[in-house]
């Protein structure tokens, strides 16, 4: 068992690892950041999506032990000063949130998308979210939410 430090939501956090732990397990169990979910543990469903160095990443497919130099952002790190990010607020307002299980991953993926491409068209939005499965929404209001966030003023997701 060794202790390493990883950077999560801007803060250094100490974690204990044997080597085989995924980032998802460490975030959820050691750091209490349960926003990222375990939907399949295979990297398919997208419920575990976090940002690593600004890029959408499957926390279930990354080893915590290799994340020492990574800048990790989870859904808990999107809000600032208790205010939802504009993207998060857009998801709420558009009615995109139903059972909510996929939503942390979904909103992280959306955040990564517009960070790279501030004015995505519908096709680009769909491509950006192609790896995030949702069983409740049919994706219609998810895309609407992102469109709203993209077109509202002062959008810094």
């Amino acid at each position: 068992m060794s202790t390493i430090t990883i950077k999560v939501n801007g803060r250094p956090r100490k974690i204990a690892i044997e080597g085989g732990e995924t980032l998802l397990e460490v975030l959820r169990v050691q750091l209490g950041l349960t926003g990222a979910k375990r939907g399949c543990n295979q990297g398919v469903c997208g419920s575990c999506t976090v940002l690593i160095d600004g890029r959408a990443a499957r926390a279930c497919l990354h080893l915590a032990g290799l994340a020492e130099h990574a800048d990790i952002v989870t859904v808990e790190g999107l809000a600032s000063d208790g205010e939802l990010s504009p993207m998060q607020q857009a998801f709420v307002d558009a009615g995109a949130v139903q059972c909510g299980f996929c939503m942390p991953g979904m909103v992280i993926a959306a955040t990564a998308l517009v960070a790279e491409n501030p004015k995505p068209n519908d096709e680009e939005i769909r491509e950006g979210l192609a790896g995030n499965l949702c069983r409740c929404s049919g994706y219609v209001k998810v895309v609407e939410a992102i469109r709203q966030a993209v077109h509202s003023k002062g959008t810094a997701p």
């Binding site: 979910k37 939802l84 939503m103 491509e127 192609a130």
Partner: protein, 769 residues
């Protein structure tokens, strides 16, 4: 806090949406209790086998393991919603690959999983029954030898591997078919669809100092969990408390017991909290599926388009345990006539056991299967009669005041409007005329479905209280599985009492604290719990008025509610607030005001003079909901791939309490239906599931479904519904498969009677034609 008089009809996002979008929401696997252990379940390696012996010694000695249980640790305690044919762990026999045979509680998940490998069970393999037709064969191995002796809650006609035989008949189909100008006949096959909720099944159980078990789980009904745990462990309900965290979807797969009995059993054994959360693979393999079916159907009509007869024979594959299957078969029979005024109808059905995981309720509850068959046949009739498919449906559409199969009166019906709206919005005639033209090997087509469903069933109740500070406590026991029940019921309560939703405490379902509600299923919560809420609000209002009348020295007849929790003497500015009333009632006189309402679905029962119903588990069902869906597709003739391009979905919801939520349910249901229509299928090989993973069982993603999905809400008020509302949870899924199949026929002139319409299936059908 702003007062509102228009909570009903408000496009309110989920009340709990912020927590779901910022990571604060806690689902079962996010919960932890002090000294908690982790549980894991060992599944059967065989589809059918006798259990000869267990050796759990090595597992028990494995460091970190605190309990290992098998059926030997329990007396025989059968459970099952309708037929009690299951036990908490496989007993004497295993009946499907993945059936829970043993369970372990250990200090962490990894240890628990390691310990499973150390459990030695000796089996004697038996020949397995792998499909429904095989189950019916005279020499088929018997899956439940003691079927006759199981406790059943209705007169279940069973025998051999047949779990239930049921039939409905009205009129005289033989005579009617003899008069028909056109008859279409066909056999249709539908597949096993996995619920694939994003949150796998899980439960956390803890025993307190009075040996009372508290269970948090991902479920659709606290009362069903309580009942199932009570039966599975043989302990009274007074010793079981079920609490609801956030739930990540259910779709029918979490109505009955999942892992709660095992978590509870392990908690009792170890005297520590135990959490079991299934891996995705275990969830696919151990839990539930939609019934695969074979539907034979024929429909007959006159030359002028009047449909006079329909007959159907259903074979529903129930898997290894009955779960709510008899209800699913019954509902399939009940819906097989379709939303039409067909006077002569006969449907018979058989539900059989097979050595696969149990089939259960799944959004649509037996209806998607018969609607796939029925709506394909309507289109085939339309073609033979040279009548437009929507026109044919309109001519025969059921209307308000008509009788449904079984004789119940249709009390509200927006079907005709749904059909005309989708016809208009989809530019139906233009697209039909353009259909079938080949552009670079691709052809477009358009198809329609008329659909019906019910909302209702069983019992529900609500308690609404005035709290000390004048706020409202809303207590219905309705589980919000993501469909928005908390929000909608809060809106109903807000409207009824003229307070803002922010002044309403929606109590999370908790068997200790909330009154009975059968569960979240059958599209029933808005309608049933909504009626209970409206009734309880009325009762509470009456009590509030009594206080206010005393305080304002008037009669209750003179009083009216004003927005913001105000009771005023009508036409004057004399008023008191809910807070004032609360002070008086809590500390002065009368006691805390409580309003309640409880009822069991109270619609007309079936009419035995009109319809012969044999073997049916229900005596009445619910209020009818209607819809129409049009889908445009493009078929790539080179590959058979069907791409849905656009959809127009019109649903008659009585009254949209929350249009935003209604749209979301329709859209989500429809896309789940596209998966059913095009790409989802559980596949077995020799009794073993070949694709129990998200990698191999594919549900639609953003690029697989069109963005152009238009939802059209039709509001034909339902007299018995709260503010005229009916449900909408299930109907969205029902029209996708038949609309897509009809659209494919429109595109390439080929009728395919089996779903999913995979590229290979469509390719083969085109090649054969």
């Amino acid at each position: 806090m702003t007062a509102t008089t228009s909570a009903v009809g408000a496009r309110l996002p989920r009340l709990e949406a912020a927590g779901k979008i910022n990571g604060a929401a806690r689902y079962t696997d996010d919960l932890a209790r002090p000294f908690m252990l982790h549980g894991a379940i060992l599944g059967s390696p065989f589809p059918h086998a006798r259990i000869l012996s267990y050796d759990t010694s090595k597992a028990k000695e494995f460091p970190g393991v605190e309990a290992v249980i098998t059926a030997e640790d329990f007396p025989y305690l059968p459970l099952g919603a309708i037929v009690k044919d299951e036990t908490i762990l496989a007993r004497d026999k295993v009946r499907y690959v993945g059936e829970p045979v043993a369970a372990v509680a250990a200090v962490d998940r990894q240890t628990a999983l390691e310990a499973l490998k150390l459990i030695d069970i000796e089996y004697d393999e038996l020949p397995a029954v792998l499909d429904a037709e095989q189950a019916l064969a005279a020499d088929a191995p018997l899956i439940h030898e003691n079927l006759a002796s199981y406790f059943k809650i209705f007169d279940c006609r069973c025998g051999g591997n047949v779990l239930s035989e049921q039939s409905i008949a009205e009129g005289d189909v033989e005579a009617a078919f003899a008069t028909c100008d056109v008859i279409v006949e066909g056999e249709y096959r539908t597949q096993a669809q996995a619920h694939a909720y994003l949150e796998p099944c899980g439960a956390l159980a803890e025993v307190d100092d009075r040996d009372k078990i508290t269970i948090w789980s991902s479920h659709q009904s606290i009362n069903r969990v309580q009942a199932n745990v009570s039966e599975a462990l043989g302990i009274p309900m007074t010793q079981i408390r079920v609490i609801t965290p956030r739930v990540g979807g259910g779709f029918g797969g979490k109505m009955e017991a999942t892992v709660q009995p095992l978590a509870a059993a392990l908690a009792r054994k170890t005297k520590k909290p135990v959490k079991i959360v299934l891996s995705r693979e275990d969830d696919f393999a151990m839990m539930r599926t939609r019934h695969p079916t074979r539907v034979w159907m024929r429909t007959g009509a006159m030359r002028d388009g009047t449909i006079v007869a329909r007959e159907a024979k259903l074979l529903y594959d129930g898997g290894a345990y009955s779960d709510d299957s008899p209800g699913v078969l019954a509902f399939g029979l009940y819906m097989a006539r379709g939303p039409y005024r067909i006077p002569n109808f006969r449907a018979t059905g058989q539900l059989v056991y097979t050595n696969k995981l149990r089939s259960s309720g799944f959004r649509g509850f037996g209806n998607p299967q018969v609607t796939f068959a029925g709506e394909t046949q309507i289109d085939e009739l339309a073609e033979r009669l040279a009548i437009d498919p929507i026109e044919l449906r309109l001519r025969n559409a059921i209307r308000k005041g008509d009788k449904w199969v079984g004789g119940q009166t249709v009390t509200s019906c927006g079907l005709a409007e749904c059909l005309t709206r989708v016809r208009e919005r989809s530019d139906w005639h233009a697209r039909r005329n353009a259909a079938g033209r080949s552009i670079e090997g691709r052809r477009k087509g358009i198809g329609v479905t008329a659909l019906a469903h019910i909302c209702g069933v069983l019992g529900t109740s609500a308690i609404i209280r005035l709290a000390e500070d004048g706020s409202i406590v809303l207590n219905t026991g309705s589980v919000d599985i993501g469909q928005g029940a908390d929000t909608v019921l809060a809106q109903l309560c807000a409207e009824s009492l003229q307070v803002d939703v922010s002044r309403i405490n929606v109590v999370a379902p908790d068997t200790d604290a909330t009154p009975y509600n059968w569960g979240t299923g059958a599209s029933r919560v808005t309608y049933m719990a909504g009626r209970a809420v409206a009734g309880a609000a009325t009762a509470l209002k009456q009590k509030i008025f009594e206080h206010a009348a005393a305080m304002l020295e008037c009669s209750t007849q003179d009083l009216t509610l004003a927005p913001g929790g105000i009771v005023a003497v009508a036409g004057t500015d004399r008023k008191v607030s809910f807070f004032d009333v609360s002070l008086r009632s809590h500390y002065g006189v009368g006691g805390p005001p409580i309003g309640e309402h409880a009822f069991v679905y109270d619609g007309e029962p079936f009419d035995p003079k009109r319809s012969t119903m044999v073997g049916f588990p229900f005596s009445n069902l619910g209020v009818h909901m209607f819809g129409a869906q049009v889908v445009e597709v493009e078929v790539d003739e080179d590959t058979g791939k069907v791409t849905p391009l656009a959809a127009w979905l019109s649903h008659d919801v009585g009254r949209a309490i929350n249009p935003l939520a209604v749209e979301g349910q329709i859209q989500g249901g429809f896309v789940q239906g596209l998966g059913y229509a095009l790409c989802e299928e559980l596949v077995w090989d020799d009794g073993r599931l070949t694709n129990p993973t998200m990698m191999d069982y594919k549900i639609p993603g953003t690029l697989d479904v069109p963005l152009a999905i238009e939802t059209i809400i039709v509001e034909e008020p339902e007299p018995s519904g709260p503010f005229g509302a009916k449900g909408v949870g299930e109907p969205g899924i029902i029209g996708a498969a038949p609309s897509v199949a009809n659209a494919v026929a429109s595109a390439v002139g080929v009728r395919i009677h089996q779903i999913p319409l995979t590229p290979e299936r469509v390719f083969d059908a085109i090649a054969r034609s």
